[in-house]
Symmetry: C2
Subunit: 321 residues, 2 copies
């Protein structure tokens, strides 16, 4: 990962400075909330995708930073709203914004950040960029609602799950790549390839996340089974359910649906899911989408940026946290 | 109000149909929430302003409906988030959306509606429109936070109050008019006049609202003193406080700040504020802003639309609910 690491090291401070600048031009009362979420140590995967896609398909241009920054601000705004819904006490090991600033301020800071991101995109005066951005806002919200509506629904199908994570997670990664391709002046085929790449990368990214949630703390450094506790249905659980006998499955579904599983039962189930290899199998499902991403990437012009995007595919495949 | 009424009667069904169309293209799970808030009997003041401003400054164009619809969707989205913050049980006499659909769905439906409104604006392919819209999103959020941060702050000045309502309420009315002027191809002076008109109309609109909150139910059909109960500082209360003796004021401030006023005290204070003429005086403050709005309107080309906008000024001045 020599190239990816060096790009990461070079670009991270650039994005940090640009985000700082954007925070300082937000309405005053929203700044502390924006600073809290934007400085919480994200990997800046989305802006890097915009930058690399744009540079792969056209010459480097400062606008790619503007778009990358906007995408990161949009992502942060959706994390703010998302943590409220999940009633999450922590985000990346630090107190979630709403526990520090209150729910009202955080809802509104998210709105203001959305407005700011939009203002950045619209400053580039290309309506295709604004439309792509607006679609991402809508789909992310839809995915979150869809997920919430299907909490503790043990009859969720794999197709339902795919629909939810495509909206909730993958759409913004897709938009990150499309924005780069559009700004690079890519034709329809190039923009479609960039979108496909981001979409499948995003689906795989979420699947790996869902697999990691059942991996022991010795691997991830985080407690496991959080999704199970929250009632989220993900592939490791779906695969586990399929492995049970009819009567075991019915008993589990009933308790799970009623949120009646005791702490020891939750821990035992999470351990059984990992021991049964269902986290590992979920990573295999993710691999298929990473292959699709790679197929889309093959349509990009050969070169350094394409190689680095290929390293991003590997990064998603192998990440441990 | 012959002209305003006939425009209202003619355009309302048009906007209703267009909004219905937009609701039907929202992500499925957000549609019931959007329908609930958008069909709750609003006056469609903002889209009418876009339509009338645009027609006054240029030829009629279908795009004015697109912009008006976007502004109404933005306004509805901000009402959804606002009602959560205020923990309001009712909106226009009907259950507030979050009491029916849950807080999570309503936060996200608001986000999706923002995305949809943005998509409508960006479809017109004019970055000045998108930028104007984005500014309105940011300022509305800032105003809401500012208001929340100053609840039960009895030392709020009139200038603080003006800053809050300019962001919270007036900015969207300003944007409604600016969007119409921009689409009409108005020059800088015309766009500035349209913005000034909307801004002062919006400030006055909020002041009249705040005066009505202290008017007896026999006038408004609604219980009075709601703002006082919620701890909102508005001109009737500020003027009342100024009329008290030093010791009375200190005593009131202390109880108000601590939210320690009993129900009878709240009712007696609300009645004293109305009897002391402070709601009436607030309407006089609003009148000054309506005069500013009228001065801006004088810069519009003479004609039927300008006359109707003048009727809107009168409507804001005299409204009883």
């Amino acid at each position: 990962m020599h190239n990816l690491k060096s790009v990461f090291r070079r670009e991270l401070p650039v994005f940090a400075a640009l985000l700082q600048e954007q925070i300082s031009t937000l309405p005053p009362l929203t700044r502390p909330v924006a600073a809290h979420i934007l400085n919480s140590g994200g990997k800046r995967l989305r802006p890097l995708l915009t930058l690399l896609t744009g540079r792969s398909l056209g010459p480097h241009h400062q606008d790619l930073y503007t778009l990358g920054t906007a995408v990161e601000i949009l992502h942060a705004a959706s994390l703010l709203h998302d943590d409220i819904l999940d009633n999450a006490p922590l985000r990346r090991g630090r107190p979630a914004a709403h526990t520090l600033f209150g729910v009202s301020s955080v809802i509104l800071a998210g709105d203001a950040m959305l407005g700011k991101a939009l203002l950045r995109v619209s400053s580039l005066r290309d309506p295709r960029l604004t439309a792509c951005f607006a679609e991402a806002v809508m789909h992310t919200a839809e995915g979150e609602i869809d997920e919430g509506a299907n909490l503790r629904n043990p009859d969720l199908s794999h197709e339902d799950y795919l629909r939810i994570i495509t909206d909730k997670t993958a759409w913004v990664l897709r938009a990150s790549c499309e924005l780069g391709a559009l700004r690079a002046g890519g034709g329809d085929a190039a923009v479609a390839a960039a979108g496909d790449f981001g979409l499948h990368l995003g689906i795989a990214f979420q699947m790996v996340d869902d697999a990691l949630d059942f991996s022991p703390p010795s691997v991830t450094g985080k407690p496991c089974g959080g999704d199970l506790r929250e009632g989220k249905i993900t592939p490791p659980l779906l695969l586990y359910l399929r492995s049970l006998s009819e009567s075991e499955r019915t008993a589990f579904k009933t308790s799970f649906q009623a949120n009646a599983l005791k702490n020891e039962e939750l821990e035992a189930t999470a351990a059984a899911i990992f021991a049964g290899g269902f986290a590992h199998k979920t990573r295999s499902l993710a691999d298929r989408h990473l292959e699709n991403a790679r197929a889309a990437l093959a349509l990009f012009p050969a070169g350094r940026e394409r190689d680095i995007l290929d390293e991003v595919v590997n990064f998603v495949r192998h990440r441990k946290q």
